[in-house]
């Protein structure tokens, strides 16, 4: 089309083209406005916490205790007694192992899970054909110091785990209820197929004892310190929201006083026992007895039992004895 600057009229074709362009522009704006208008200003519902349990029967449904000086051997015997790790972890599944790495303390001080226990669990998961095995926790002290000086970083890495802590641990929203509503959890928790809770048994100045259900506080982000205002109920709530595939209670060393941080070796008792099972309440009840406490005197254990999360009768536990 030759443009003639002295022609004051436009062709029908050009008129149609320009009118169409404007109409399309107006339609695009209208459709865009309709699409975006009044969508919920609040974000979509946070993802739910998955249930990581696998149905277990027979031997693998037991709660067992092994004793001996070698924590790794104890873990192996426990898992064998429960029917092997492949009862809990299927080929290719990703596993999150959640130890207690809360404090900048050496293993002998008994404030954190023993690194040998963590490493052995990693090895067993890998041997069972697990895909990615992640070890993660949100420490109270500087996480780099905690993971390094507890020995968990080196031991778990050597066993083949991805150890995620400090800045690498991304926080995400999750559908939490009760006292922890609105708090964030670390991201690997929502992506793992199976979760193994590996707390250490120790004294706690407020809750008297810190074991498995208390260990879930380590997956929570900002605001978790609020839970201490009603710690017994908060622990039972956490136990109801986080349902692990397996619980392993480390009582290799038990911090009897000045918990949960301790420091003095005089407060540490060498017990040399580890318990494992799929019943988190029974595991915690056994842990409480290691501090000489009656499990039913602890609010969180009774409440968890009432919620149907497990049983608190330690007579149900099978002793494997010393190797």
């Amino acid at each position: 089309m030759i443009h003639d600057p002295y022609d004051h009229h436009i062709s029908r074709r050009e008129a149609v083209a320009r009118l169409s362009a404007t109409a399309i522009g107006a339609a695009a704006i209208g459709v865009g406005a309709y699409f975006f208008h009044d969508r919920r200003s609040v974000h979509a519902a946070a993802p739910a916490i998955p249930d990581w349990r696998l149905p277990q029967t027979g031997a693998s449904a037991r709660t067992v205790v092994a004793r001996g000086n070698d924590p790794a051997a104890n873990v192996r015997r426990l898992i064998t007694a429960l029917g092997g790790m492949n009862k809990f972890v299927k080929k290719g599944e990703s596993v999150l192992i959640k130890p207690n790495v809360g404090w900048d303390r050496l293993p002998d001080q008994g404030a954190n899970t023993d690194p040998k226990v963590v490493a052995e669990l990693v090895r067993l998961c890998k041997a069972a054909g697990a895909g990615r095995v992640i070890v993660a926790d949100i420490s109270v002290n500087d996480p780099t110091r905690c993971f390094t000086r507890t020995g968990i970083l080196d031991a778990a890495k050597a066993a083949g785990a991805d150890v995620i802590y400090a800045q690498q641990l991304k926080m995400v929203a999750a559908d939490l209820s009760g006292y922890s509503a609105g708090m964030e959890v670390f991201a690997p928790l929502l992506t793992a197929n199976r979760v193994i809770n590996v707390p250490v048994v120790k004294h706690h100045s407020l809750s008297r004892v810190t074991i498995g259900m208390k260990n879930w506080m380590g997956v929570l982000g900002r605001g978790r310190n609020r839970l201490h205002q009603d710690i017994q109920r908060a622990m039972a709530e956490l136990g109801a929201m986080f349902r692990p595939t397996l619980t392993v209670i480390d009582a290799t060393r038990v911090l009897m006083r000045n918990g949960p941080q301790g420091g003095s070796l005089a407060d540490v008792k060498q017990v040399g026992a580890i318990a494992a099972g799929i019943d988190p309440v029974l595991c915690d009840a056994w842990g409480a007895t290691q501090l000489g406490l009656d499990p039913n005197s602890l609010g969180f254990i009774s409440e968890a039992e009432q919620k149907g999360l497990g049983r608190s009768d330690v007579k149900l536990i099978t002793e494997l004895g010393v190797a």
Binding site: A15, L19, H37, S41, G182
Partner: protein, 492 residues
């Protein structure tokens, strides 16, 4: 005066008067439901910025579509006929500067640096996309309301001082005074809303047309051109404010404003260089994290960052607040003030409550009603106060400072905080004690204590506390409903 000019000036004065009248009604606490956010609801820049930042187009902001459609029909008629800042600049340009015809010609020619506004627009929109909405800083509607609310209303009789308000006032004045040197300098070179409308106006159906065979090139059309778009020859439709001054100015009657006129042989595009636009885009992307790194309320709550009741969580708030000052203007007690440092650089001029200057009236929901973008959600009085049986909307928690409190520190009876506390039951209660004073007399005291489960953080206790300049009971943001993590007590 020609009839087009008369009608245009009538429109401009009417819209300016409406803008000022709505602001004045708002400040006067008029309880009638006027459309106080009318201008801000029709603002496409806010709409696009909020959509990019938050993924939502909240409430009445959808009226901005009307302005875009107006632009598709008539070009940037908003700039020349409606915009209050444009009108004020045009007026100041006229009154401050009697010019010779030669001067008028020189200052109304197009300059390539008028393209700066397109870079400004790009940087702001990309910043929104990166999660930091800053369009309000240069948006002419926000800017005008801000300059007037913080710079003009405070100097009226009975006006309340606004800390930091001079910043907005000075910027507003600078824009008006700059019109003395180049008319509508802000519109031509900086205005991101004008740039956005300029983009839409490229599809405008009605345009200025110059008959080439009649035009003698006398450039008289340029003398009073508001947009600086040079109507003769290759007319720049994206710059044109549709003031229509050029048409009667043409001695040859070569100019007309017509439906679907022939386009210039080479329709001029804005003088934007691709390389500079890429640089601007990178700048826009980088700006948001830099602003965030300067601190604020996103990652950690700030004690004095007390947002108006119904405000969204900080992240959502900062993708919606256009810093228009309407909430500030609407607050009956003068509690809402611009944040100078409380919300970080990113939250500069977003609203905060300063309880010592004004308290949040218990059943008042005015700020949420006028917020044009839903950064402050609209509450009902029943919902805000918790009379519907759900927990009330809290904006903070009051803390007693026993070192200053009269019954605590001075053994002097005082119950002011308790008597003004609006909740039911009151958040303030008394611990009754008998103490022996310096002269050996027994004094019965009611020492106030705060029940954090009842306190909504309204700040009337801090506002009314008789202890001089710094109150003995002070509100901080902890416990605010909008941030579930900025909480200290477990119970709801």
């Amino acid at each position: 005066m020609t009839w087009t000019r008369s009608i245009r000036i009538l429109y401009q004065t009417s819209f300016l008067a409406l803008f000022l009248w709505l602001l004045s009604r708002l400040a006067a606490g008029d309880t009638r439901a006027f459309p106080y956010s009318l201008f801000h609801h029709t603002d496409p820049l806010s709409a696009v910025g909020v959509v990019l930042g938050s993924g939502t187009l909240p409430g009445a902001l959808i009226w901005s579509v009307a302005l875009i459609v107006l632009c598709f029909l008539f070009g940037r008629a908003f700039c020349g006929w409606i915009c209050p800042l444009g009108t004020l600049q045009q007026f100041f340009s006229w009154i401050l500067s009697p010019r010779t015809r030669r001067e008028s010609l020189l200052i109304n020619r197009y300059r390539t640096w008028y393209a700066i506004k397109y870079y400004v627009l790009a940087a702001l929109l990309i910043g929104s996309l990166a999660g930091s909405l800053q369009t309000g800083l240069l948006d002419p509607l926000s800017l005008s309301a801000r300059g007037l609310a913080s710079g003009f209303w405070p100097i009226l009789p009975g006006g309340r001082p606004v800390p930091g308000g001079w910043l907005a006032a000075l910027f507003f004045l600078a824009i008006l005074v700059s019109s003395r040197f180049i008319p509508r300098l802000f519109c031509r070179a900086l205005c991101p809303l004008g740039a956005l409308l300029g983009c839409f106006s490229r599809l405008a159906l009605f345009r200025i047309h110059c008959r080439r065979d009649a035009c003698t090139g006398c450039v008289k059309c340029t003398f009073a051109c508001q947009g600086g778009d040079e109507p003769l020859g290759d007319h720049r439709v994206g710059e044109c404010h549709v003031c229509l001054n050029c048409i009667p100015a043409c001695p040859e009657n070569a100019l007309s404003y017509r439906f679907l006129p022939p386009l210039p042989a080479q329709p001029p595009i804005p003088d934007i260089s691709r390389r500079r636009m890429i640089g601007t885009a990178i700048g826009g992307i980088v700006l948001a994290p830099i602003l965030r790194a300067a601190g604020g309320g996103r990652s950690a709550a700030h004690s004095h960052l007390i947002r108006p009741p119904g405000s969204l969580g900080e992240n959502d708030f900062l993708t919606r607040c256009v810093k228009c000052s309407l909430c500030q203007q609407s607050c009956p007690t003068g509690a809402i003030h611009p944040a100078i440092a409380q919300a970080g650089v990113e939250g500069f001029w977003t609203p905060v409550i300063i309880p010592r200057r004004g308290f949040c009236e218990f059943a008042c929901t005015r700020c949420g009603e006028v917020c044009p973008t839903g950064a402050i959600t609209q509450l009902t009085a029943v919902r805000k106060t918790g009379y519907d049986g759900r927990p009330p909307v809290r904006i903070g928690t009051a803390f007693i400072h026993p070192g200053r409190c009269l019954p605590w520190a001075m053994n002097t009876p005082c119950i002011v905080c308790e008597e003004v506390c609006p909740t039911d039951p009151k958040a303030l209660w008394f611990e009754e004690v008998d103490v022996v004073d310096r002269k050996g007399r027994t004094v019965h005291l009611q020492r106030p204590r705060v029940d954090p489960l009842r306190c909504v953080g309204c700040g009337i206790c801090e506002n009314k506390c008789p202890v001089g300049e710094e109150a003995a009971i002070r509100v901080t943001s902890v416990g605010e409903t909008r941030d579930p993590l900025n909480k200290m007590i477990l119970a709801p």
